[in-house]
């Protein structure tokens, strides 16, 4: 009687039972191999492990089914384990602040990529000047806290909202123009922002802003070293957990938005703007919202970056940064939050791991974007069909039975 076809694959019961733990082991192993060990061989091994599992997943439908079922059934456990893992990793690497630094940058990158995904992934508007919002946020926050003595929290929020305002502003031309126009507008906006940051006196010109204070929580600076049980922890660890809080918050927001009408309507705009309009969707409002929200996340990321590093200059926010973030979104999977996070994680960690190949970094980014778009434009994890709680369908069944009876 159930109108929705369920995949009751009884054949793979054993596999189904152990699939989630296996999945976890693979993820943990590849994360550790890639991130923690300072060695190109383990990095490659870790990446290969990830890629291998991924290919197995896509090649064998049965495995795919089991994995999907496992993920669906054990969602809560996976999330909890993920959080535990995110909590534990820096503790195990506390003697290597550099690795924690990489992880912090990865966290910030994920926030950035989530924001860009609102525009490029969900709404389908090209944005090639995203780094400008990141820069606006970083500069707003840095200026407010160094020149006006604002507290970190005020600066952070202000950074988010100022960036969102700029996002809204840049979104305006999208209302009347086509996608390639928007690409041009965003590139132009990115360049203009870069030039302005570089030339204006109050932004510190090309030398940027230094001595940006660390965030304080009830008067306790994040730059202080924590000592516990005779161990002292590097200051990066404070930041790691601090940024992690924001990351979890932003992920939650991204998921909420994705699963709400906003996310759905963004998709409608992306799929067919005219049909969306004629379905009663105010596409202009939604496009601006997508820009503003994406920029808000970029602003928050910028503020976190500025207060973590303590120094920013226009170089951090140029066209290459925009492309880098775009690469994360495309590689991970347009409009898939988990995918985008994975893409951001890989593309922010990998360059650090292949430092000796730094000359090829931008070439690699370009190639990844190009090849992904040409051969797997859905990214590592393709965008999913939204599925709703089964309970939402129950009433329908009852009614339908009545109708039939």
């Amino acid at each position: 009687m159930n109108p929705i076809k369920m995949n009751d694959s009884t054949t793979n019961r054993t596999l189904n039972r152990i699939i989630t733990p296996i999945l976890l082991i693979v993820v943990v192993a590849s994360v550790y191999l890639v991130v923690v060990y300072e060695n190109v061989i383990t990095t490659i091994a870790g990446l290969l492990l990830g890629v291998g599992v991924f290919f197995g997943y896509s090649r064998y439908p049965k495995l795919k089914e089991s994995v999907n079922d496992g993920i669906k059934k054990d969602k809560v456990y996976l999330i909890i384990t993920g959080l535990i893992l995110a909590f534990i990793i820096p503790l195990t690497t506390r003697t290597q602040p550099y690795i924690i630094h990489i992880l912090i940058i990865a966290e910030i990158s994920i926030i950035l990529a989530l924001g860009l995904n609102f525009q490029v992934g969900s709404t389908g508007i090209p944005n090639l000047g995203y780094a400008a919002f990141y820069g606006v946020g970083a500069y707003a926050s840095a200026l407010l806290s160094t020149k006006f003595g604002m507290s970190f929290w005020v600066s952070l929020l202000a950074a988010g909202f100022i960036a969102a305002f700029f996002g809204w502003l840049v979104g305006l031309p999208t209302l009347r123009t086509r996608s390639y126009h928007m690409a041009l507008v965003s590139i132009a906006f990115g360049l203009v922002t870069y030039i302005m940051l570089n030339n204006l006196v109050f932004t510190g010109g090309p030398n940027g802003i230094k001595n940006i204070p660390a965030p304080e929580i009830f008067g306790w600076s994040l730059f202080s070293t924590i000592r516990l049980f005779g161990n002292s922890f590097p200051v990066q660890i404070n930041f790691y957990y601090f940024v992690l809080l924001f990351l979890v918050l932003m992920l939650a927001i991204a998921f909420f938005v994705y699963n709400s009408k906003i996310g759905l309507f963004w998709n409608a705009v992306r799929e067919d703007e005219i049909a969306a309009k004629c379905s009663g969707i105010n596409t202009a409002k939604l496009k601006l919202l997508s820009f503003a929200m994406g920029a808000f996340l970029a602003g928050i990321a910028g503020s976190l970056y500025a207060h973590y590093i303590g120094y920013i200059s226009p170089e951090n926010f140029n066209f290459n940064t925009s492309l880098q973030v775009l690469g994360m979104v495309i590689m991970g999977g347009l409009d898939n939050i988990v995918g985008v996070s994975i893409g951001a994680f890989i593309l922010s960690v990998a360059p650090e791991k292949f430092r000796s190949l730094a000359d090829f970094r931008m070439l690699a980014t370009g190639l990844i974007i190009l090849l992904m778009l040409m051969f797997r434009s859905s990214g590592i994890i393709r965008q999913q069909i939204r599925e709703y709680k089964k309970s939402h369908f129950r009433t329908e069944l009852a009614n339908k039975d009545e109708g039939n009876g």
């Binding site: 456990y77 430092r355 730094a358």
Partner: protein, 389 residues
């Protein structure tokens, strides 16, 4: 239920095992690590690689002498001229307990970004390439010292020569990078101190190709000299187009940033008689000549302008290590408290850690090569400048 328990168990197991083992670190007592950071990739890679080779050259020479108490391993990291990458590299070097000191950076924004990190970890940081004043003077840290002269010192020299030639009305064309704006301000100060005048400073962007509008403005101002504050590419464009625009009898000068033979290669004949207030002339001392010979015997990449400074940075670190042993804090104190002898001359710090002796040199372009002015045919009177009538 079984599954859930299993799940939690396995998770705990994984985590516990990973906490337990962690990456092992081999500790060899004989070997001491020192760090080097520079732009090893990207547009400034040539400079970075020249400095890296020079740094390694000194280390090899010291080790080859045989009486050095430690085995030295150099950890090279790339900052790609990018502050974000530089910060990662600096964190990697500075937080590594096995590394005792490091020589760093060519780009000022990178230096500004990393100076705090080295301070936080109490590691000696010797700048072999950045010229921004604030890196040393903008803080009261003990850790950073700088062997290369500041742009301020370089511009004092430039202004001194300008005065010597009696060219006192200048127009500055600067690029809008940290380098260009810094040079602009410092040249302005140095010229005005000597009674000269800056008629106007005009900013251009890196990557700009057409300077016709800028030069038309310069033409209206009718200066005696054009100072280009920036680097080779745009300097060459400005020089070529200024000659085309008829500004032929004007002195043309630039900072160390244009001291590359590419300038002559691009500008060709129009490069003749242009000036560059440059860095140390290695060929002026016996130690320098020895360095050049040793370098060229080993490497094919040119050592560029900063090679000698990187070479001396290595010497300073190795001296300090030999004197006080592999102790970060002691090395910091030793470096700041002593003077050293290097190919660029005697290295002496002021109270902030800036080397006083620059080894700065004024060059003039003669047959598309930069030649020390005193050794040139202009100084000897064989050739004359167009403004000498």
């Amino acid at each position: 239920m079984v599954k859930k328990i299993l799940l939690v168990l396995i998770t705990i197991l994984i985590v516990a095992s990973l906490v337990g083992c962690g990456p092992a670190k081999p500790a060899e007592k004989q070997t001491v690590k020192i760090g080097f950071i520079g732009p090893l990739s990207g547009g400034n890679a040539a400079v970075g690689i020249g400095a890296k080779n020079s740094f390694q050259l000194k280390v090899d020479e010291v080790l080859a002498a045989g009486d050095y108490p430690y085995n030295i391993e150099v950890v090279y990291e790339d900052d790609a001229s990018d502050p974000a990458t530089g910060v990662a590299a600096a964190t990697k070097i500075a937080s590594d307990p096995d590394i005792v000191a490091a020589a760093t950076h060519w780009n000022s924004p990178v230096g500004l970004a990393t100076v705090d990190i080295f301070h936080k970890y109490g590691m000696a940081q010797i700048f072999w390439g950045t010229i921004h004043r604030d890196i040393i003077y903008g803080n009261d840290y003990k850790e950073p010292v700088r062997v290369i002269p500041t742009s301020e010192q370089s511009m004092e020299l430039a202004a001194e020569y300008a005065k010597k030639f009696g060219i006192m009305d200048w127009v500055i064309v600067n690029d809008t990078t940290d380098y260009g704006t810094k040079i602009r301000d410092e040249f302005t100060a140095a010229i005005e101190k000597r009674g000269g005048k800056i008629l106007e400073a005009i900013g251009v962007t890196v990557g700009q190709q057409d300077f016709a509008a800028v030069l038309s403005r310069v033409g209206e101002l009718d200066p005696q000299g054009i100072f280009y504050a920036g680097v080779t590419t745009e300097a060459a464009g400005v020089r070529i187009q200024s000659m085309k625009a008829g500004l032929t009898d004007v002195m043309f000068m630039g900072p160390p940033g244009i001291q590359s033979d590419t300038f002559g290669e691009i500008v060709l004949g129009d490069a003749e008689g242009t000036f560059c207030s440059g860095t140390f002339d290695v060929n002026s001392t016996p130690e320098g000549i020895a360095f050049v010979e040793a370098y060229n015997a080993k490497y094919t990449d040119p050592f560029e302008q900063n090679g000698p400074y990187a070479y001396d940075s290595a010497a300073i670190i190795l001296d300090a290590l030999k004197a006080v042993g592999p102790d970060k804090a002691k090395i910091v104190d030793y470096i700041l408290g002593n003077t050293f002898k290097g190919v660029i001359g005697d290295i002496q710090w002021d109270e902030y850690g800036q080397n006083g002796v620059g080894g700065l040199t004024m060059y003039v372009n003669q047959d598309q090569k930069w030649v020390k002015y005193e050794d040139s045919e202009y100084a000897s009177g064989v050739r004359t400048f167009p403004w000498d009538k």
